[in-house]
């Protein structure tokens, strides 16, 4: 009975859907122009609260049919939308204005929906397609550097194609042991490999319509347990109803290194190396004994950095076709990107294809898809490893050593004659054949169904198929020096990362009495990831020098060849429910509430589900009567939000006590290597209560537009607290275990201010000048380490680590000694705490050595005298864009920088003496050679008896920098010429990347991921020219 009544109610309710009365329809035509009178082609015409009705034609004209009293909205990228209420049929011409207030009306993509910026009660920053494509980078993350306030972007490396990774940190650093990268959502698809710093190079940057960054908890909490580092929403371009357009954007350019360290030449090297060897009681290397002879024989000697770096090409072509009718729209794009690296033999090549389509099946049903297919191939070089980075090897290789012999065979340092046998970097780049290939298909199809007035159902099914292949082949190749490959090695890894998504949402929009607007979303998603890999490698004597694992390549020659193969995989699932309600009162007050419940297969059985709520509110003061008379304020809104998000990377299976099966013992009367038996026992305890990390964030913000919309601003103050941080706690050995166990213990805080300003400084008929500035400040502090001891890690070539995380300090501060000048005499040494005891200058502290401060005054310089000597967190980061247009010219100057970030410059550990017989930085010419000669550069002594090279403030440098990141000059070919060529729009441009960098940092590049510089791949200066044609 009940069921029947319910059915009846349903029938009645849905009946009204069919019988709804449609108003009187009328036709409206007109043109859309810019303020300067230019016809705007492809401007969108839509009815408020409804679908797009089409776009303007080549002359800016439109013709639509709407109900009487409907409000038409005219939008065009970069312009403020305009609303016109239609009272009668006829001609309505519209003039759209450019300018700062445009941003208040732009549509911002939020999780599971979109919203006008004006109506936002949360902190969301946006970057437009124009800004993204201004940077010639394969990686969109590089393109948004300096464009978004509160988002610190660090290129970990200048390797081509962004393959070295670009760290995106939204509002500081939230986790000590887990990832700090934001969740990336592309066209509604939350990408699975959260945490990878190079994720955004899988997509064509030319395809991106906008990037919206969800910064506060209320904006991001709808993504729940994955959102504690913020969310980056990427929306790709879609087709528009109207005429077909075909756009080609192509550029080509050259890149070069802009700042290489100066090393010693052959004669200088002979002098300094001999001095250092004598000081440590060693014989001078015979071939370097005659300084003048060395100068004559070698001249300047090998300039290894010149051998390593080169001028390299970059080029890109992007073709986009769009079109469609009212019923169906499509976008098709194809891109090709080729970038040679400035490091010899490195390059990246990428193809990308995209197809995005939309079909209106009926008035109430819409179906659409996004599909992207990419292939990226990289030939990389080791520029990360503190032992074998080719950048470091090139700094260290002596100028008296050559990469090649006269006959063209490989050379390199020879232990017996050069005292130096590190690998020859040129050999390392030419001989091993390393290739990384990534194939990625990401797509989804969705349907939207209008069920009832304002009630909309959407289902989305998607997949992300990411296949990665790594091949490393090092054929045995002779060389007279360095460390040649005696045996051939080959390894290959094939990883497959399929990910599936099913998502269902119901959206309800309702306006009551024109003043009360309600928007509600509820949804359910299921996402599954099945990562698996196969890894195999062989080493030995190959019968043929080809990278193949098969036995046929091996068997006949040698029995000692090694063979390794392994396979593993991880399955994980995420089941989520979410909901959000927004209530707008009279365009004045805004309230939002969202909640998400995430269940993850990675979580402990006791804690399978996590719940993340948030609230937000905003008040548009400028709509209030008391503000009406304040003429200089056009728009003013105050916002506040509070909510929780999570970081899900709980170490797999840490909630069970695993048995470690790797123990061994020996039985039997083995007098050699036999008799091994396996043992099994737990080596760690477990934590059945282990949970995700929780991030709590409070945000207070102000948005506004002032002075006749000439100045727009957005200002946010926030406090983020990461609670339940996952820290690894070493057990007492009495437990019988020794591996640290993860506990939710510890709190970290980030407090900061985000500010963005945009201004229309000049808007004359011929000359316009717009400026846009973003600044982000944050302070990171570890409030509590909970159960965990302070954590030391960092540079692997010095014991004890260089980075420390400890309560009361920012995460990962540099931990080391404080220097206090240089001992000028033995008397000074005698009056100071003992550094290295003894009186023999070859094995103990001597004049010319660095004096370290005895911080605990115990008369001995030891580990207890280390302290906080700076950290890599900037005081603030900023970006400043100035755009000028003069007649047909456009000039954009983009300046980006970071202030107050420190770098521990460990390249100097290699090049300022004491470590090896390698080459030195030319700064050692100013070394200490006798009392009063230097108070900063110590004496040259091999093996460093005093520990001058220990981690100390000697190597901590201020790496603040300001960069002219991009300078772009474009010329728009006048319409009459373009028309003559049957083109709609033609733009010619030249652009310079990294034109100038202002910094006191002495290393290769002040932008150092992680803050410890061990000679990474530096960023290039790029000069390019391009053309953009609209057919």
């Amino acid at each position: 009975m009940k069921i029947r009544i319910t059915l009846l109610c349903l029938m009645l309710a849905f009946g009204s859907l069919v019988h709804q009365a449609w108003g009187q329809n009328m036709t409206v035509t007109g043109t859309v122009r810019s303020k300067s009178g230019e016809a705007l082609v492809g401007a969108t015409v839509s009815v408020q609260g409804g679908a797009s009705l089409g776009a303007t034609d080549a002359k800016g004209g439109y013709s639509v049919t709407v109900a009487k009293g409907a409000t038409l909205i005219f939008t065009y990228s970069g312009m403020a939308p305009q609303r016109v209420t239609i009272k009668k049929a006829g001609v309505v011409d519209v003039v759209l204005e450019e300018g700062a207030n445009a941003s208040m009306n732009e549509v911002v993509v939020v999780g599971y929906g979109s919203k006008k910026r004006r109506d936002l009660s949360t902190a969301v920053s946006s970057v437009s397609a124009k800004e993204i494509t201004a940077t010639p980078a394969a990686d969109a993350a590089q393109a948004i550097q300096g464009r978004v306030s509160g988002v610190t972007i660090t290129q970990n490396s200048g390797a081509p194609g962004g393959t070295g990774g670009t760290a995106i940190r939204i509002r500081g650093i939230s986790s000590i042991n887990n990832i700090n990268s934001p969740l990336i959502v592309v066209d509604g698809y939350p990408l699975p490999d959260q945490g990878a710093d190079n994720i955004l190079n899988s997509f064509g940057t030319g395809d991106i319509e906008s990037i919206d960054v969800l910064k506060d908890a209320a904006a991001s909490a709808i993504y729940g347990v994955r959102a504690s580092n913020g969310v980056v929403m990427i929306t790709t371009k879609r087709g528009k109803a109207g005429k077909t357009s075909l756009t080609v954007d192509m550029y080509a350019g050259l890149q070069e290194a802009w700042s290489l360290p100066k090393m010693l030449d052959a004669r200088e090297y002979a002098v300094i190396n001999s001095e250092a060897r004598i000081a440590s009681g060693l014989q001078v290397i015979p071939k370097l004994a005659d300084f003048e002879g060395v100068g004559k024989q070698y001249g300047k000697g090998t300039d290894w950095l010149d051998e390593l770096f080169r001028r390299a090409a970059i080029r890109s072509v992007n073709i986009t076709a769009t079109g469609g009718s009212d019923k169906a729209q499509y976008l098709f794009s194809a891109g090709y990107f080729l970038q040679d690296g400035i490091v010899y033999k490195t390059d990246v090549e990428r193809f990308n294809l995209r197809f995005n389509g939309d079909i209106k099946v009926t008035d109430k049903i819409k179906i659409g898809n996004s599909l992207s297919m990419n292939k990226l191939t990289e030939h990389g070089a080791d520029t990360y490893n503190p032992f074998n980075s080719v950048v470091l090897l090139s700094m260290m290789a002596p100028p008296t050593v050559s990469p090649r012999n006269a006959d063209g065979t490989y050379a390199g340092g020879n232990g017996s004659t050069d005292g130096f046998n590190e690998p020859n970097p040129i050999y390392q780049l030419e001989v091993p054949k390393n290739r990384y290939t990534k194939y990625r298909i990401t797509g989804n199809i969705f349907t939207e169904i209008n069920l009832y007035k304002g009630l909309k159902f959407k289902a989305l099914f998607g997949g992300d198929f990411n296949f990665q292949e790594v091949n490393n082949f090092s054929p045995a190749t002779p060389s007279s020096g360095g460390r040649p490959f005696i045996l051939t090695g080959y390894s290959t890894q094939k990883g497959f990362y399929p990910d599936y998504l099913a998502e269902y949402t119901l959206t309800y929009d309702k306006t009551i009495n024109e003043k009360h607007k309600i928007n509600a979303v509820v949804g359910h998603t299921f996402q599954e990831n099945k990562y698996s890999y196969v890894l195999a490698g062989r080493g030995g004597n190959f019968t043929q020098n080809i990278p193949v694992l098969n036995d046929i390549i091996f068997r006949p020659t040698d029995i000692s060849q090694t063979y390794n193969a392994s396979e593993d995989g991880v399955n994980s699932r995420l089941i989520s429910y979410f909901g959000r309600v927004n209530y707008d009162f009279d365009n004045r007050g805004f309230l939002g509430f969202s909640i998400r419940r995430d269940g993850s297969s990675n979580f402990a059985p006791a804690n399978k589900f996590a719940v993340f709520p948030s609230v937000s509110a905003a008040w548009r003061l400028s709509q209030e009567p008391f503000m009406r008379n304040v003429k200089w304020v056009n728009e003013l809104k105050v916002r506040g939000s509070y909510g929780y998000t999570g970081n899900p990377n709980v170490a797999a299976n840490s909630y069970v006590q695993a048995i470690n099966q790797s123990f061994q013992y020996t039985f039997g009367n083995s007098s050699g290597s036999g008799g091994v038996v396996g043992g099994a026992a737990p080596s760690r305890s477990y934590n059945p209560q282990i949970r995700w990390e929780k991030n709590e964030q409070l945000d207070i913000g102000f948005d506004g537009s002032l002075f006749n919309n000439r100045l727009g601003f957005s200002l946010d103050f926030y406090q983020r607290r990461s609670k339940d941080l996952i820290l690894y706690v070493a057990p007492p050995f009495v437990s019988g275990t020794y591996e640290a166990v993860p506990f939710n213990s510890g709190i970290m805080q980030n407090r900061g201010v985000d500010l963005s300003l945009n201004g229309k400084i000049l808007s004359g008929p011929a000359l316009t000048w717009n400026a846009n500035a973003v600044v982000g400040f944050y302070k990171n502090k570890v409030i509590s380490m909970g159960l965990s001891a302070p954590i030391n890690n960092g540079f692997s070539r010095i014991n004890g680590g260089s980075l420390r995380t400890e309560q009361g300090f920012p995460i990962g501060f540099f931990y080391g000694f404080v220097t206090d000048g240089i001992f000028q005499s033995y008397a000074e040494i005698a009056n100071h705490a003992v550094q290295t005891a003894g009186t023999d200058p070859t094995t103990s502290t001597a004049p010319g050595d660095i004096r370290f401060k005895d911080l605990n005054n115990d008369g001995v310089i030891n580990d207890q005298d280390r302290t906080n000597i700076g950290n890599a967190n900037p005081n603030f980061t900023y970006g400043l864009t100035n755009s000028f247009t003069y007649k047909n010219f456009e000039l954009t100057v983009f300046i980006q920088g970071s202030q107050g970030n420190k770098v521990l410059n460990f390249t100097r550990w290699y090049t300022e003496g004491g470590v090896s017989n390698g080459n030195y930085s030319n700064k050692v010419i100013e070394r200490w050679t006798g009392p009063g000669t230097s108070n900063s550069m110590p004496r040259m002594v091999l093996n460093d008896p005093n520990g001058n090279n220990r981690v100390s403030d000697r190597f901590v440098e201020d790496a603040s920098y300001m960069r002219i990141k991009n300078l772009r000059l474009a010329y728009n070919v006048p319409a009459k010429w373009a028309n003559y060529l049957k083109l709609k729009k033609t733009q010619l441009y030249v652009s310079v990347q990294n034109l100038a960098t202002f910094t006191n940092y002495t290393g290769l590049d002040p932008e150092v991921g992680g803050g410890v510089d061990i000679g990474f791949y530096p960023q290039a200066r790029t000069i390019l020219a391009g053309v953009l044609v609209d057919f």
Partner: protein, 505 residues
């Protein structure tokens, strides 16, 4: 129209529900490589044996990284050699009695012993319930668990005195609050465990299992425990039990003392229990499968062993002087045990001659007991991985335990048996009890030189002050009564508020 809409809606909802995945069971995912946990392991005999094997593993690290520092370098038998300077500061702390609670060597003994205790407890808890397991192996495995738990606690109680005592599979939380138990209670547990072990362990093993604990080893260790406790009656009885039943266990003395320390005689007739090592290459640490004593004890930088030889553990003059000799020089020593125990200047090996002094060894003395020459790459292929086992209990110790515990009247023939093999005359008859004890101490010192027993012998002497007196006489002026027990590692006390410190630290 209504109907059409309703049909659409229903179809839609059915489709949506059909696609929907919201079962909680989906959140349980099996890993690709099955996860092995404490709860699902010990299903069969193979797994049970692997569990038992892991109980033995910590012995490798204890005998590489702690036993000789504590048993010999701390005693009057050896001193730290090496290259001087900052080399081996942690060992120097023990040698000079300046040890602190941060010392990594005592930490190694502590940590590794408790790894063994937990694993033994796990075996004892799980093995009775293993569904598929032969009775003989089940019984043996339980015996090994009891024996090894006793073995590790015996190491702990002698070095630290009162220690946390547990016989369950302890949780990390319990381990962070457990207090120390009185040493008497620890000894009670050790004795109880060994009494069970001796009834459950087999007398001998087949060739592939040699090295596992035997009934004889349990009885022998029990005799040693009784002797340490001063319980002469039980010590004598246990030792006698082994001696009388030696045929059962296959025990006898090697005619040549040096045969005990040869690769080919591992787990031989005189061996009751030894730490099993094998060569493997490239471990460079205490925690691998190989033994590092060969490299660490050999004459420094003489290249007669793998990795050049470090000369880290150097015999004292006092020890060398205590061998019976006919003249003034060490080359007149008549004790046949000397040439297989110690290098003296002039000793040769192939083309090598021991010099009269070496870095770290001013008298040219070095340990030879664990010598595997560099040419034997099967026995030691470098990287601190010598295959030679290290003895824990030898049959000759049963003879000397009995001799000491039973007193001069009953014990003399047994002591003389050991002396005879060393080429020494029988002891005089009618020695007083005090003289007999002194003779037995000397005999043990030379018989078990560098076998890591000496420090414990000094400690167990009836004169409670004996170890202080001896070490003062040996020139160790820092020694105090507190050094009877080593400090509890500070890192452990930081994690457990209930863990008290020994007096004086």
């Amino acid at each position: 129209m209504k109907k059409i809409f309703l049909i659409r809606l229903v179809v839609l909802l059915v489709i949506a529900l059909g696609f929907s995945q919201c079962k909680k069971s989906l959140l349980t995912v099996d890993p690709t490589i099955p996860l092995v946990t404490v709860d699902n392991y010990f299903k069969n005999e193979t797994e049970a044996i692997a569990g038992v094997n892991a109980v033995y593993t910590p012995m490798s690290a204890i005998y590489n990284g702690a036993a000789w520092h504590l048993g010999d370098i701390m005693s009057d038998d050896t001193d730290l050699g090496g290259g001087g300077g900052g080399d081996g500061l942690e060992t120097a702390e023990l040698d000079n009695f300046t040890v602190t609670s941060f010392n990594p060597i005592i930490n190694t003994l502590w940590a590794q012993s408790y790894y063994g205790v937990l694993r033994a407890n796990l075996v004892l808890a799980k093995v009775p319930a293993v569904p598929v397991m032969g009775d003989a192996v089940r019984k043996r495995s339980m015996g090994e668990g009891y024996f090894l738990r006793a073995f590790y606690y015996y190491h702990l109680v002698r070095i630290f005195g009162d220690v946390p005592l547990y016989t369950n599979v302890i949780t990390a939380e319990e381990a962070a609050t457990i207090a120390r138990s009185p040493k008497q209670q620890v000894y009670t547990q050790i004795i109880a465990d060994l009494k069970l072990a001796e009834t459950m362990l087999p007398n001998t093993y087949g060739p592939n299992d040699k090295g596992r604990a035997t009934a004889g080893a349990a009885k022998g260790l029990l005799a040693s425990v009784y002797l340490t406790l001063g319980d002469k009656t039980n010590a004598a009885a246990k030792a006698k039990e082994v001696i009388d039943n030696r045929a059962l266990y296959g025990y006898d003395l090697w005619a040549d003392y040096g045969d005990n320390f040869k690769l080919e005689n591992e787990n031989g007739k005189e061996s009751m229990f030894e730490v099993q090592y094998r060569s493997g290459g490239g471990q460079w640490s205490d925690y691998g499968a190989g033994q590092k004593l060969n490299t660490f004890f050999a004459p420094r930088a003489q290249d007669i062993v793998q990795s050049s030889g470090y000369g880290w553990n150097v015999p004292t003059k006092n020890l060398a002087d205590s061998y019976e000799k006919t003249g003034a020089g060490y080359n007149t020593i008549i004790d046949k045990r000397r040439p297989s125990s110690m290098w003296i200047p002039g000793d040769t090996y192939g083309a090598y001659t021991q010099p009269s002094q070496l870095v770290g060894s001013p008298l040219g003395l070095n340990i030879k007991k664990y010598f595997v020459p560099v040419a034997n790459t099967l026995g030691d292929n470098g990287g601190w991985t010598c295959a030679l086992n290290v003895p824990v209990l030898r049959y000759s110790e049963m003879l000397l335990i009995y001799a000491e515990a039973a007193g001069p009247a009953l014990g003399k023939p047994y002591a003389d048996q050991v002396r005879a093999r060393a080429g020494l005359a029988a002891l005089p008859a009618g020695l007083s009890d005090a003289a007999w004890l002194e003779a037995m101490y000397k005999e043990r010192r030379l018989e078990f030189a560098f076998e890591m027993h000496r420090w414990y012998d000094l400690l167990r002497h009836p004169d409670a002050n004996y170890f202080v007196t001896v070490m003062r006489a040996a020139g160790k002026s820092n020694i105090q009564n507190k050094h009877r027990y080593m400090p509890i590692p500070q890192g452990e006390r930081d994690k457990n508020p209930n863990l008290s410190q020994n007096d004086g630290y």
